[in-house]
């Protein structure tokens, strides 16, 4: 088997085994209701993680997404509360702002040649600060359009509900997979992750690609913010603190190499589902501290980092023999 697929295979295997263990203990977990909830509850995280996958594939990192999600939520809530603007127009406005925000960070990273880590850290402070300035209270959203969007779902066989936001996450993943593997931009992202110097020699437009990657991440963080505001029907500037860490963990558990250049968008979906599964299991159990989620995710993260290291060593040795 191609070693490229090994992390992804390991992720899928872990998910299936974990799910089997859960079902053996709580047979009720094998229902479309649980699966439907799994998709709905993790929709905003999944959408943001697609953006993070592209960023990490290119060898970068984006710490700002949690703050951008919170900003989008507060922005929508304030806009819908104080003006008569239609939610769809507000959505468009929010997406334009967050996309421009991401593009700006990409431009700074490229033109000032600074590490993405510190640039997106500044972006995180800025976005969170803007959210605070807009409002420090939790603002409810009571627009009738929100209610009609939330009542929109597809009933799965077995009584589970595939909600609008759960479905949207799946669509985003599908589009993400297509962009990563079927477009020139996707190939450029992988090339950039393989090494900036080689990518430049191959004729990849480094500057444009970097800006587009962070713009895409900003756009998806904005979309994730819209989904989060639909999910909670409110905007709160202290919401989604630390979501960037969950997203990074999902990407790594999904088998994407942290040094960039190798990985799959589909793996991130499994990474999200594994995190959701751990949470669901803890809810079903009822006696475990919810903090076990963090510890287990930390351990999984560690295991996958070790796996990646082993694979790199293995492929290096093979190359030396060849």
């Amino acid at each position: 088997m191609n070693p490229r697929y090994l992390p992804l295979t390991a992720t899928v295997a872990i998910f299936l085994i974990a799910y089997a263990v859960c079902i053996a203990q709580y047979p009720n977990m094998l229902s479309t209701r649980v699966i439907g909830n799994l998709l709905t509850d993790n929709a905003f995280l999944g959408i943001a993680a697609v953006g993070m996958t592209f960023v990490i594939l290119s060898g970068g990192i984006d710490l700002s997404i949690g703050a951008v999600i919170a900003f989008t939520g507060v922005f929508l809530a304030v806009l819908l509360q104080s003006t008569a603007i239609h939610p769809l127009a507000a959505f468009a406005l929010a997406l334009i702002i967050t996309t421009a925000f991401g593009a700006m960070m990409g431009a700074i990273i490229h033109h000032l040649e600074m590490p993405p880590f510190i640039v997106t850290l500044a972006g995180m402070f800025l976005a969170r600060g803007m959210a605070f300035v807009l409002s420090i209270d939790s603002i409810p959203i009571k627009h009738p359009f929100y209610t009609s969007l939330k009542s929109f779902y597809y009933v799965l066989p077995g009584g589970g509900r595939l909600t609008l936001i759960g479905g949207l996450m799946l669509v985003v993943f599908l589009v993400g997979i297509l962009i990563a593997h079927r477009t020139r931009f996707g190939a450029d992202v992988y090339a950039l992750g393989g090494g900036t110097a080689t990518a430049r020699l191959m004729g990849v437009p480094i500057g444009r690609t970097t800006v587009m990657i962070y713009a895409l991440s900003g756009f998806l963080a904005g979309l994730s913010g819209i989904v989060f505001s639909l999910y909670t029907s409110a905007g709160y500037s202290l919401a989604t603190v630390g979501v960037e860490l969950d997203a990074i963990a999902a990407v790594v558990i999904g088998g994407t190499l942290l040094t960039g250049g190798s990985g799959f968008v589909a793996g991130t979906l499994i990474g999200i589902l594994i995190q959701g599964l751990i949470q669901t299991y803890i809810t079903f159990d009822g006696s475990l501290s919810s903090w076990w989620t963090k510890i287990l995710i930390g351990l999984l993260l560690f295991a996958f980092i070790l796996l990646q290291k082993a694979l790199i060593l293995l492929s290096d040795r093979r190359r030396r023999h060849a």
Partner: protein, 341 residues
Amino acid sequence: MTGTLKAYAVRLFPQVAALAIILFMVSLAFPGFFKLSFQNDRLYGSLIDILNRGAPVALLAIGMTVVIATKGIDLSVGAVMAICGAVAAASITAGHSLAFTLLVTISTGILCGLWNGVLVAVLDIQPIIATLVLMVAGRGIAQLITEGAILTFNHPGLIFIGSGSLFGLPMPVIIWLGFGLIVALLVRRTALGMLIEAVGVNRRASRLSGVSTGVLLIAAYILSGLCAALAGIIAAADIRGADANNAGLWLELDAILAVVVGGTSLLGGRFSIAASLLGAMIIQSINTGILLSGFPPEFNLIIKAAIIVLILVIQSPRAQSAFIWMSRVRAAEPKKEQEAK
């Protein structure tokens, strides 16, 4: 000796100037700012308050400076603070002595640092990712130690570390000043500092020239863990309890910011602990200043973001090459004039 003193003055000038300007601006908005009073055997006043409140970030910045100088980063310090605070509170409430509690807590911090260091140096994992593991899992571990509650304690000895005073200064100030001095002397009066810089500039080259890079890297992360343990003890002693959820939350970012404000490049190499400590004080002055001058604290984050962007522009390789070009042009001009004569 005067030469080195002059070098220090040049190195620290931007930070000292920035701190002076910020303090001056705050004093304009809040007239009683520089007033100090001596009561109950210790000094009181806004300046002392800044030194005191800035203690955790200052301590973290000491370890973070050394880690960043090796071209690394330690994201786990906030979580390690939470773990160490929880360990200290759990040990003291279980009836152990203060000395034993401090020993166990500091050992915990060192152990956390050792874990990070081994991941970075032996397994050769990128520092951001290696320390991310403990950052994600750390708060969970702290929560398990405190069993989900905020562990409170009344031990006078432990509380003294957070709110007592010595030589007229609050205890946390004494701790970070003393520890900063020890570490600064250790790295600057021996060759350690230069070896750390060598690892940061080029790890491979320094290993090939005989520097034991692995040991140095692990030591840097252990120092960072130790600093986090001290900061964790102070934070817990200050509120007389261990709060696994909020202790040290996002302080890793403040510590990194302090180091960056101090002018140490994130790309590794040259570092200055004194400058990072000044950076920590600059951040705390801004926090306190915003509160005192009546601005809504919401602006805090935006100001921090603006500072980072400003420093990024100054530090960026392109801007620096522009500076060098400008200074060359300036240096070349007088020569031409002389030639013309």
